[in-house]
Every structure is written in structure tokens, then in C-alpha cells.
């Protein structure tokens, strides 16, 4: 069998299999948790969290070495990164709440200066005798090559925990993401829920560091929910779809990476997710670009056709070239602008529709019905045939185009 199929079937060795499962679990939890961040319009807070892990990694390494231990202990490094990521988050929250600076500036400031501190610490470590082979650069971009069995287990367990935490907190988080004020009115502590959400994001970031690195873990939190958004308008489904996209990306990316040399895990997971995103952006049935283009063109044609027919009915000149082209293409006017037989018939129907609406709006002074009068909706969609007959009685018999419209 080919290496890729082997990897997909978890036949490429224990570590690779564990990494693939861990990546799938991680992908699921990043997708699901990222959904809440995305709905709360705070997607890039994860960027600050992720970059703020770097000084923690450095500090943890220095601490462990100076205490005589092995600086590369993954759990120790994860704990260290959790500490600085939390501090970074707190600072983002503090700046945007206490000063006039907006959250994006706070995110950027924390991201830049914490990352700078991390780099300073890394250059310090490189000069330590124990730091020469520290391999901490792996935390920038992730590195599964040379990963210990025990590290893979940590990632898999971390993934399970993150999924569980997301599942437990899904209701309050949905409520806050959807409508924070309503949640507050119902007695939820919005700030606490926000902090818990950020807490889960922090845990996921820390777990994913070794696998995809601190820059690309951000992608795993953002891309799956954004891609999922194209497929549904309902938040509870959004969570599951985002989780699913994340899991598939994680699994496929890890398998691809295990199948060949020089295929870094993190970028492959991200690029898999990005592929799903671009496919969704283009081809999603309701919200995709292709669908939107078709809809927009149809809508524009409807508007111009209606306006053109109204102008014909009122015997006003049509000035817009697009309207003229449209009407002549549909055989409603001749090339010289004179309406054809069909054109005249349709124009008088449109004019009649307008008159019926006029009557309808006088009779039914009810916003629920007449509020739907936007110039495009055929009257048959709103009123029953009986009601329309009633309007017609008030209008009088049909009249030929030309004498129809008396302004109004």
C-alpha cells in the first residue's frame, strides 16, 4: 500500500497514529471552541494568546534546567506557556476595558511585545550550555518529527479534555456569543463565561503548540468555524460542522505529513482546512460566491425589468442602457424602444399590479401586509384571490396602456 493510505489507516506506526488521532481531536475542539470566538467577533484574540505562549516556553525551560531537570519536558513547557498565555489574555482584557484603546490594538500590542520577550528568552537559552539542542524553535511552527510516545499521549489526552470542556460549556457560551446582553439579563456572568471560553482557547493553544506551532494554532481556531458558517445559519449546527471540519483537517493533515518526508504537520493541517474554506466560500449553496453572483444578477434583472415595464406603462422614456438591453433581449421592446405586443401586455399587468397595491395599501393599513410592499413582490403572494378581486372592483375594468397611470 502507498504511504498515504497507510497513514490514513493508522498503519504508519504508533506515534504517527497517535498524532493523527490527537490532531483529529484537537481539530474538533479548536473548530468547536473557535466557533464561539468567531460568533463573539473575537477571533484574533486567539492570535494574542498563541504568541503569548512563547515567553512561557522559554521561562519554563530555563526554570527546569536551573532546577536540574530536563528542559524539554513537554508537560513542564505546556504549563509555562499556559501561565504567560493567561497573563497575555488578562492584559488584552485589561487594556480594552480600562483604556480608550480598542481590543484590536490591545491584541496587537500583547502579541508583539510578548513574542518579542519570547524571542529574547530563546536567544538567552541558545547561549546556555543545556540550550544548544533545546529545539524550542519547534514551538514556532510545530514539529512532530522526533516526538516522544509520551508527548503524543499528552496531545491525545489534551484533545479529549478540550472537547469535553467545550461540550460542557456549550450552552452558556452559545448564549453569550449570540446575545451577550440577553445572557446578562438572564443572570449569566458574561465576563466569567468569556474568561472560561478564553481559558479553553488557551488550553487548546497549549496542547496544539507542539503539533502545529503557535502561529498556526490560530488558523485551527479560526478557519473551521468560518468555513462552517457557509453551510448553516444555526449556531448549534455550526459548532458541530466546525468541529467536523477541524477534525477532518487535523486527521488528513497529520496523515499527509506522516506519509512523506519534508511535509510539516502544522502547515498541512492548516492548508487542508483552508481548502475546505475556499471550497465553501465559492460553492456553498446559499452563502457561497457562485450562488450570490447568480442571485444578484437575477435580482438586478428583476429590478430593471420592473422599472422598465413601469416606464412603458407610464409612457416615459427609458434612459438606462441596461434596462433597454434587458427589455429588448426579452422581446418586450423593439430595438427602437417601442414596446412589442408582449411588452405592452406585461406593462399593463405591472401597472395593474401597482394600482392593486395602491388600493391594498388604502384598504389594509396594516404594516404587516403592506410593509412587504417593496415594488418587486407580486401582489398574488400577499393577498388571496378574493381580496384581489375586491381591489379590482375598486379600480374598475382594465384599461389599455397609456391611459393607465395617473401618477401618485
Amino acid at each position: 500500500m502507498t504511504p498515504l493510505v497507510d497513514a490514513l489507516l493508522l498503519q504508519s506506526g504508533y506515534n504517527a497514529a497517535l498524532v493523527a488521532i490527537g490532531a483529529a481531536l484537537l481539530g474538533f475542539s479548536t473548530g468547536a471552541t473557535g466557533t464561539f470566538l468567531f460568533l463573539r467577533k473575537r477571533a484574533l484574540v486567539s492570535d494574542a494568546t498563541a504568541h503569548a505562549t512563547l515567553p512561557g516556553v522559554g521561562l519554563a525551560f530555563i526554570c527546569m534546567v536551573s532546577l536540574g531537570g530536563d528542559g524539554r519536558n513537554l508537560i513542564g513547557l505546556m504549563l509555562g506557556s499556559a501561565v504567560t498565555a493567561t497573563v497575555g489574555l488578562m492584559i488584552v482584557e485589561w487594556i480594552s476595558r480600562r483604556t480608550r484603546l480598542a481590543e484590536d490594538a490591545a491584541i496587537g500590542a500583547v502579541l508583539g511585545s510578548f513574542f518579542g520577550l519570547g524571542v529574547v528568552l530563546l536567544t538567552m537559552i541558545q547561549t546556555m550550555s543545556a540550550g544548544r539542542q533545546a529545539g524550542l524553535e519547534g514551538f514556532l511552527l510545530g514539529a512532530t518529527a522526533g516526538m516522544l510516545f509520551q508527548d503524543a499521549v499528552v496531545i491525545a489526552i489534551g484533545g479529549v479534555l478540550a472537547v469535553f470542556a467545550t461540550w460542557v460549556l456549550r450552552r452558556p457560551m452559545t448564549l453569550v456569543a449570540f446575545d451577550a446582553e440577553y445572557a446578562a439579563a438572564m443572570g449569566y456572568d458574561v465576563r466569567k463565561i468569556d474568561l472560561m471560553m478564553m481559558g479553553i482557547v488557551m488550553v487548546i493553544t497549549v496542547v496544539g503548540l507542539k503539533l502545529v506551532g503557535l502561529i498556526l494554532i490560530v488558523a485551527m481556531l479560526i478557519i473551521p468555524p468560518v468555513a462552517a458558517r457557509f453551510w448553516t445559519d444555526r449556531s448549534n449546527r455550526l459548532i458541530w460542522i466546525a468541529g467536523f471540519i477541524g477534525a477532518v483537517s487535523g486527521y488528513l493533515g497529520a496523515a499527509l505529513s506522516a506519509s512523506a518526508p519534508a511535509m510539516p504537520t502544522g502547515p498541512l493541517i492548516v492548508l487542508t482546512a483552508a481548502t475546505v474554506f475556499f471550497f465553501s466560500l465559492l460553492f456553498a449553496p446559499e452563502r457561497g460566491i457562485a450562488a450570490a453572483v447568480v442571485r444578484q444578477r437575477r435580482f438586478q434583472a428583476r429590478v430593471h425589468r420592473r422599472q422598465g415595464l413601469l416606464a412603458l406603462a407610464r409612457q416615459e422614456p427609458i434612459r438606462e442602457p441596461f434596462t433597454l438591453r434587458l427589455l429588448s433581449r426579452e422581446g418586450l421592446i423593439r430595438p427602437d424602444g417601442v414596446p412589442t405586443e408582449t411588452g405592452r401586455a406585461k406593462a399593463s399587468k405591472v401597472a395593474r399590479d401597482e394600482r392593486r397595491w395602491d388600493i391594498a395599501r388604502k384598504v389594509h393599513q396594516d404594516a404587516g401586509l403592506t410593509g412587504r410592499y417593496d415594488g418587486l413582490t407580486p401582489i398574488e403572494e400577499i393577498f388571496t384571490p378574493d381580496e384581489i378581486q375586491d381591489f379590482d372592483r375598486q379600480i374598475g375594468p382594465p384599461v389599455a396602456v397609456g391611459a393607465l397611470y395617473d401618477g401618485g
Binding site: 480600562r98 484590536d104 511585545s113 538567552m124 511552527l141 479560526i222 468560518v226 492548508l271 450570490a292
Partner: protein, 312 residues
């Protein structure tokens, strides 16, 4: 500390640091006011794929193709972000997140796949720069500043960064009024006949020029930090735009000088022989300055009467 050694080893890096910091801080002022602070973040991340693609196409690490590649990547990123935002109806933070991480991942994958072992091109370089290595070999003292022979051996990064910084300053001065009004009240600017959308695009391109010129010498960390920290701190010091820009220039300069000095000489004060990353330290100093401004800045609190939600 201010003798011949200083001119030879520290003068050029400090100057480059200052030019880079100021070039980024200037457009940063407007990015922050327009709530686009993270465009700087996005631009600095996509510099990596830009230089990788440029390298793959040209096979060299010469400065010009790298610059063009990085600028092209920045522009691509900005266009993609707008496309995702408008066509997909995605909120701008998420749109940025999707685009720059994807491009960055693509850059890393290309880098790993291509044979770059014989040239110096790697992620760490793009992130951290190599400010410390920009040494003026022929300098023998302050007198070298008037010695054409010595001047000819100045690291070429210095004139390049100085030119980029001047370009940014000139653009800011020419378009000052347009930038101001298009940032404060976009619809009014449009009614005046000012191309508000064009001004926004121009600002992002200017930011990209600054970022691209700076990353080569100082790495993208400084770029991210300088786009945001000095202007953000400056915003807390004053309530007029002109003063804010001057404060941001002052903070950027201070960060560059203090950061370099702490990185180069700080470890010696603690008995260590080895300097730490100057780029990283400059970013840290700018963060500390912002922190102080958040606590002590005279205009740190919001004042706007009934603050409107961000315009759609």
C-alpha cells in the same frame, strides 16, 4: 561605550532600528484609529511566503526580488482579506485570521519542500531579523562619518531603510489631510470628492512598504510591535492627531535605542557575556512603554459621548 566600538558595532543597528520603528509607527497611527491595527499583524506574517516565493522564482536571496516578493504577498493578502470580507460576509478579524495563517502555512510548506539548505533563508530569520550582524566594518571612530571610503562599506540595509522611512514620511505629509478626514468621517470625505476607499488602500500599501523594508533588517517582530505599541501609547498621551504622531515617533525612537542598548549591554550588567535578540528586546521595550502609558497616560480613558457602535 560611545567610542570607536560603538560606531563600528552599534551605530548602524541603532539607526536601522530607529528608521524601521518610525516607518512602521507612522502608518500605525492611522491603522489604530481605523480599527485596523491587526492589518499590520497580517502583513508581517505574509512576508515569509512572499520571500519564499521570490526565492523559488529567482533562485537568489538578493534584496530586490525579496522586497518585491514580500510586497506582492502583502498586497495579495490585503486583497484576499477584502474579498473574504465582502464576498463571504465574514467579519474582518476572522477574515484576516483565515488569510494570513493560510498564506503563512503555504510559505512554511514551500520552504520545507524546497532546497534552501545552501542559502540563508529560514523562518527564524524572517521573524527575528539580524540587527546585531549589521556591522560597519571599516568604521574606526566618529570621524568615519566623513570618510567616503568608510561610508562606502556601510551595510546596504541602512540606506535602504532610511529611504523607506523617508518615503513613508513624505507620503504621510502629502496625504495628511485625506488620511485624517477619511479616517474620521469616511462618508463626509466621499461627499467632498475625496477617494476615501483609495486612501484606505494607499494606507495599507504604505504600511506594507514599511513592513517589507523593515523585516529584512529587523524581522517581523519589530514590525508587529511598532505598528501598534508606539501609536497606541501615543494615543493615551494626547488628544490631537498631530501631537499623537509626534509622540509615536518619539516612542518608536526610544524603543529602538533602549531596546538595542538593553539587548547588547543588559546581559553584561548581569554578568553574562552574550547579547540577546535586539529585535525582540525593542519589541519588549515598546510594550513596556505602552504599559506605562496605560497606567499613567494623561488621556488614557475614553471620553466620547454616546459612543456609536463600529460602522458596518
Amino acid at each position: 561605550m560611545m567610542g570607536a566600538d560603538f560606531v563600528q558595532f552599534s551605530l548602524v543597528p541603532i539607526l536601522i532600528g530607529i528608521f524601521a520603528s518610525v516607518a512602521c509607527a507612522l502608518p500605525g497611527n492611522f491603522l489604530i484609529l481605523r480599527r485596523q491595527a491587526l492589518i499590520g499583524d497580517a502583513i508581517s506574517h505574509v512576508v515569509l511566503p512572499g520571500i519564499v516565493v521570490a526565492f523559488l522564482l529567482t533562485g537568489t536571496v538578493a534584496a530586490l526580488p525579496m522586497l518585491i516578493g514580500a510586497a506582492g504577498a502583502a498586497l495579495t493578502a490585503v486583497i484576499l482579506i477584502e474579498a473574504v470580507k465582502r464576498l463571504g460576509g465574514i467579519e474582518s478579524g476572522a477574515a484576516m485570521g483565515v488569510v494570513f495563517t493560510t498564506l503563512f502555512a503555504g510559505g512554511v510548506l514551500l520552504l520545507e519542500q524546497s532546497d534552501t539548505s545552501n542559502v540563508h533563508i529560514d523562518v527564524e530569520h524572517a521573524l527575528m531579523g539580524n540587527l546585531e550582524s549589521l556591522i560597519w566594518f571599516r568604521a574606526t571612530g566618529w570621524a568615519s562619518l566623513w570618510d567616503p571610503v568608510a561610508l562606502s562599506s556601510l551595510p546596504q540595509e541602512l540606506p535602504r531603510m532610511a529611504m523607506a522611512c523617508c518615503l513613508v514620511i513624505v507620503l504621510m505629509m502629502i496625504f495628511w489631510r485625506w488620511l485624517k478626514i477619511a479616517t474620521f468621517d469616511e462618508s463626509f470625505a466621499q461627499v467632498l470628492g475625496i477617494p476615501a476607499t483609495g486612501v484606505g488602500v494607499g494606507l495599507v500599501i504604505t504600511a506594507a512598504i514599511a513592513a517589507v523594508a523593515a523585516f529584512d533588517a529587523v524581522g517581523s517582530i519589530i514590525v508587529i510591535a511598532m505598528f501598534i505599541c508606539p501609536p497606541a501609547a501615543a494615543r493615551l498621551m494626547t488628544n490631537t492627531l498631530t501631537a499623537q504622531v509626534w509622540w509615536s515617533v518619539a516612542f518608536a525612537t526610544l524603543s529602538a535605542i533602549l531596546g538595542y542598548v538593553f539587548a547588547g549591554y543588559g546581559p553584561m550588567w548581569f554578568g553574562s557575556q552574550n547579547a540577546v535578540s535586539a529585535a525582540g528586546m525593542i519589541a519588549v521595550v515598546s510594550g513596556i512603554i505602552l504599559g506605562l502609558a496605560c497606567v499613567f497616560g494623561p488621556y488614557r480613558a475614553r471620553t466620547g459621548a454616546d459612543r456609536a457602535p463600529p460602522a458596518l
